[in-house]
Every structure is written in C-alpha cells, then in structure tokens.
C-alpha cells in the first residue's frame, strides 16, 4: 500500500514538472511553431504521468478506465489542434524564427 502511494506521488510530481516545462516553453520559445512543440509534447507527458499516478490510487477498474479515456481524448485533441494552429499560421504567412 505504502509503495503504491509513494510511486503515485512521484508520478504526480513528475507530471507537474512536465506541465511546468510546457509553460516555460510557451513563454520562452520565440514563435508560434516552437511554442506548439512545447505545449503538445510536454503536456502530453505531464498528463500521462498524472493519469498514471492517479490510476495507482483508483478504487475500481472503471475509474482507471475513465482516466485512461481522458488521456486518450486529450492526446487526440492536442495533436489535432496543434496541427490546425500550425496550419493556420502557415496560411497567414507567419515566418519561422531562425
């Protein structure tokens, strides 16, 4: 019991660090394309670790399944939206930062 609690906490903290990294990237990266990199990839891993941490604490299979569904939906949404934002930026002729 204690082992799963410690492991769960470690996963949650690691997840939070990735969310922080995503936000730092959003602020520090120079243009829309590079910022999308930070948001999609770091937040995907961040949420994945948070979900893994919470699954360890889940009381039933259905709760674990719900968490997993949330992660999959967010993956799909963030990848699709990143693509659409990048495509719109290209259409508008926004140049790459070099």
């Amino acid at each position: 019991m204690l082992v799963t609690e410690i492991l769960s906490s470690l996963l949650l903290i690691a997840g939070a660090i990735f969310f922080l990294a995503g936000t730092v990237g959003l602020l520090r990266f120079p243009d829309v394309y590079t910022r999308l990199h930070a948001l999609t990839k770091a937040d995907n891993v961040g949420l994945g670790l948070v979900v893994a941490g919470l699954v360890l604490q889940a009381e039933s299979w259905t709760v674990a399944g719900k968490l997993l569904l949330i992660w999959l939906l967010v993956l799909l949404a963030s990848a699709s939206i990143a693509h659409l934002v990048a495509k719109a930026a290209r259409k508008k002729g926004i140049e790459l930062w070099k």
């Binding site: 990294a21 990839k41 770091a42 891993v45 259905t62 693509h83 990048a86």
Partner: protein
Amino acid sequence: MYTNDQKQHLQFAPGHSVIITLRTGLIRAVLFTLIWWILTDGAMNSWLVGVPVVLFATLVSVQLLPPFSWSLIGIIRFVPFFLWRSLYAGVDVARRAFDPSLPISPQMYHYRWRLPPGLPQVFMANTVSLLPGTLSAELGDEFLYVHVLDKTGAFASELMILEEYVADLFGLKLITDRSEE
C-alpha cells in the same frame, strides 16, 4: 499514384463488404459497450439507456468511418514505440525549454509521403506532433510539412521509422520506389 494492391487494401472487394461491415460493427459495438461500462461505473440499471446508445453509436460510426484495414500485430508493435518516443519527446522539449541557452534551430521540412491518403496519413500527421522535435504543420498531397525544432537532429530517419510503424498498423506495405510511376 498507388498500386491496385493498396487500393484493395483500403476499400476491400465488394463481395466481402457485408461480412466486413458486420465484423467491424461487432468490434466497434464491443468497444462502445466497454466505454459505456466505464462511464457508468457498470451500473446495472444504466443499460436500459446504454444498449440503445451503443447500437446507435455503432450505426453512426460505421456510416461516418467505413471499415478500414488494420492489423493487431501492428497495433501491438505501435503502442510501446509510441509511448516510449512520446515520453522521450516530452523530456527533450522540457530540457530545451529549461536550458538557459535555448538550444533550438527550427526548420520546415518537406516529408514525401509513402503512405496512401486518408486515415493513414491523418493518423501519421497527428502522431508526428507528439514525437520528438517534430510538429505537423500541413498535410499536402505529396508532402507532409513538418516543423522541426532542431534541424541538427535525426528527425528524417525518425519520420521514416514512424511511417513504417503506421503502415504496419493499417496492414499496408509502403511504396519504396516511386520513380518508375
């Protein structure tokens, strides 16, 4: 642009289509049942609503997304590859974001498709954005326009490997040489 073999793969021969639609419907109905069970915590009295909803969702899904070819072995190969590479992608971008010198050198890379158009290309475009240092910026007829975070990295070979995994997933063979066509 694509061989007849590949078109067959994507569309199926008309004679088999009824069986394939039924099989696809059955598989999807099982998946929707699983999702309903998860969402309702397996409450018995919810099935009164759940059974019609699952049937309706299955009908709509077969209408909107007709059966396509896929491979179980391809899926089993793809999942660990994707989990590992997307974890690496997160670590990689986090390292760059925290590094005081901000080590990035972006580039727009034109990746020539080997996958057939439709679902396989869309699937790959979505996956590209979650893998290390690449972001799909536009889905062209001939190229996938990929924004690369660090042009000194091995992104080109990474994209080719990903495309092979995606082809596997959909039970397709990639066209290796297009110069003759």
